[in-house]
Symmetry: C4
Subunit: 254 residues, 4 copies
Amino acid sequence: MAINRNSLRGKLFIIIFGANTKRGRLFDVFLLWFILISILVVCLESVPKIRDQYESVFFYLETFFTIIFTVEYFLRIYSHPKPLKYLLSFYGIIDLLSIIPYYLTYFSPASHYLITIRILRLLRVFRILKLSSFVHHAQVLKSALASSLQKITVFMLFIVALVLIIGTIMYVVEGEENGFTSIPQSIYWAIVTITTVGYGDLTPQTSLGQVISSIVMIMGYAIIAVPTGIVTVEMSRSQPPVASKVDQAECLSC
Amino acid sequence: MAINRNSLRGKLFIIIFGANTKRGRLFDVFLLWFILISILVVCLESVPKIRDQYESVFFYLETFFTIIFTVEYFLRIYSHPKPLKYLLSFYGIIDLLSIIPYYLTYFSPASHYLITIRILRLLRVFRILKLSSFVHHAQVLKSALASSLQKITVFMLFIVALVLIIGTIMYVVEGEENGFTSIPQSIYWAIVTITTVGYGDLTPQTSLGQVISSIVMIMGYAIIAVPTGIVTVEMSRSQPPVASKVDQAECLSC
Amino acid sequence: MAINRNSLRGKLFIIIFGANTKRGRLFDVFLLWFILISILVVCLESVPKIRDQYESVFFYLETFFTIIFTVEYFLRIYSHPKPLKYLLSFYGIIDLLSIIPYYLTYFSPASHYLITIRILRLLRVFRILKLSSFVHHAQVLKSALASSLQKITVFMLFIVALVLIIGTIMYVVEGEENGFTSIPQSIYWAIVTITTVGYGDLTPQTSLGQVISSIVMIMGYAIIAVPTGIVTVEMSRSQPPVASKVDQAECLSC
Amino acid sequence: MAINRNSLRGKLFIIIFGANTKRGRLFDVFLLWFILISILVVCLESVPKIRDQYESVFFYLETFFTIIFTVEYFLRIYSHPKPLKYLLSFYGIIDLLSIIPYYLTYFSPASHYLITIRILRLLRVFRILKLSSFVHHAQVLKSALASSLQKITVFMLFIVALVLIIGTIMYVVEGEENGFTSIPQSIYWAIVTITTVGYGDLTPQTSLGQVISSIVMIMGYAIIAVPTGIVTVEMSRSQPPVASKVDQAECLSC
């Protein structure tokens, strides 16, 4: 459990998991850039024109980054005093998920795009690099959202019930000939409408359908006020924790 | 009025309407699942592909669930000390409405989809199962909304008047050749626009129409702030009632 | 200036402008229904199918209501102690505007639809009928909006400048071949986008255009918070005036 | 550094940069109108129909305004006690940017539309003309936004990560045949959806895609509450500064 700072594992642990030494910080900065560039590579690769031209370049770059991250993953397991704890931790799972898609390419070609989940790895980098004001504000937001979570869940259940009933009514009113081909499809329309997204791929065609839609939209107008009200009230209640408190709580083992 | 706990009616009443006994709770859990599955069946049945393949299965399932709920409905009437009070109560009407559509299928085939109104039956299940924190938060939301209802009604009347005038102006400006075929149609457009839903099935084509639309949209931007402001202020005012108070107020007879 | 309650003018004044006598209240209730029905007639008349069938019915109904309102208008002028003051008051202008469109039909057929401006006449009816709780809440909303008006104006000027610059950039980036045919057209697009209406009649086609749009949308996401914040803060500041104060301030002469 | 009020440079400085003398104010009012008209000219010129008819008129007007603003720019440099400070100041750069596009027309014809950046010059005019209540409210808004900037940045980073992951998932689920031709394209869709803009140029076609979209939309519904909450809380915290304080802080040199 105690870290032997002179052993190889101890040194690796301090570099990889810590950010207090010069080497540790350098490691994290490199990691930050590797993550960003590897995501950029995946994004660019998905563009047909670019992919056709530089297919092999992208393959080598992805292989390169995945090898780097795989090696890093095993070094993390090796150097951590409690490997299993790391493996099952939030960051351990993210680390694994961000290398697996590459190896799954052999089974399902499209899956390797899921590599973009690597962006979640930045969470650790932000935390390790002690971008304290960011972490601080994130904490405030997080606690406000956490305390309003239950209210928002109740609200969401209400929305789900509402959307189900509206969807059914519109399915019966508009019918399959107007694009409302099934209740799930109509529920999709109801969600698109009540959240004010309004794609317009499905729109009411009958007069009665338009009247019902109008009522749904005006309801949505009033309903959107509710989550906003919840979050605002929780935010104004939650006293901002002192920044130094966040800094103290540094956790080397995560 | 007093419930005879040893008679059949008394026992049934405690099981069906209550949730304090083991059997009563079991009954509610079964009911919860029956409601959810019966809704899922109706939703799946509406999907053309699935319906064509499993038409008879869906028919038997729906018949099964409706028989269950019909028997339950009559048992509720039988076991309730004041049957008429139950029949005319909010939950009594919901219970009736959630079985009627099935029997109406013989007259109007599409109507049986309205069975999804069964989702409202979950309200009772939540209440009976004493998911107290949910009920508590729902109470807070409800009281905040209730106290802001009058302000929101005034606001809605204002929106209706505004939407009527904007709709008329756009009908005169754009005319029938641009899709604004009638004033009700133009009012529908105005609601779609001012609520920021924006389907795009009707859009202004003339320059003047686009200028007016732009003004309407920017107005809608400012107007959406009003219901949010109302609800937020009411929410921050309403002191959250103590959770235990809600728990005490258990009503066996509903 | 003093109203002679026994003269014809005085009696008419009390009936038409007041709501304290039984006749006065009856007059206002009749007015309320006449306004609502006349608006409904205009709305229905604009629907092509209905118009073709009942063209003459609509013409007679509209003529009937306009004669009623014209007579009422002249009676108001006749009975008011200061006719000129009434003519130039807010309600006097509304009263005039709600009968003029009918007479303009001879010059411009479409204009008579503007009769729907009659809905503004309901403002007086609400006020006269002392729907006090409505009036009270309207007062609270009005004062909160009035005190936040200047802040919202500054904000709107900022939006106008922003939308002009974004529109120009998109016009240069997308060009006429992608539907952004002019700067005013592009400004229209920018307003549709930043207010999150999103019709989809104009959408960015180039990659650069989509990147700029994405930034504009995310900005719009943060910007929409500003008017909401302004109104909410003003509303929580404005102490709700006591209801009785509003009731006292009845103004017979308006 | 001291301004010699009797020299030509000193007199010019007081007229051009100040607004305390009659001439100085007149200069600013002229500038205000010149800016507005020159922007209007550029906007009108971009409309194909109008451009074809008055092409030469627009050319002469633009040349006229650009000469005026160029002369003004050099007079500002000449008369300012510290020319370099002016050149590198915010307003100095805006002044330069608002004349450059005209001269770039020879290289890239479309670029001269960027002249609309001149609207930013109005910022100075507002400030100089001491539209104090506007400036005051702008200050309040600015300080509230500034103090919530960090929280909003954290929130924006979260949105960017979310949108990247959602975009990737939808790219894999929907695929190129449904219009999600690349990850950047899918990210564009995710932004259009989560900000509730909803153009409808890209919409999910598969059932799984519609389910994921529905979840994204409902999430967006809750997420939109966050920036609103942040801004509202900051606004209610920030005590409005006394108006007179803003007036005192007049800066002749900017």
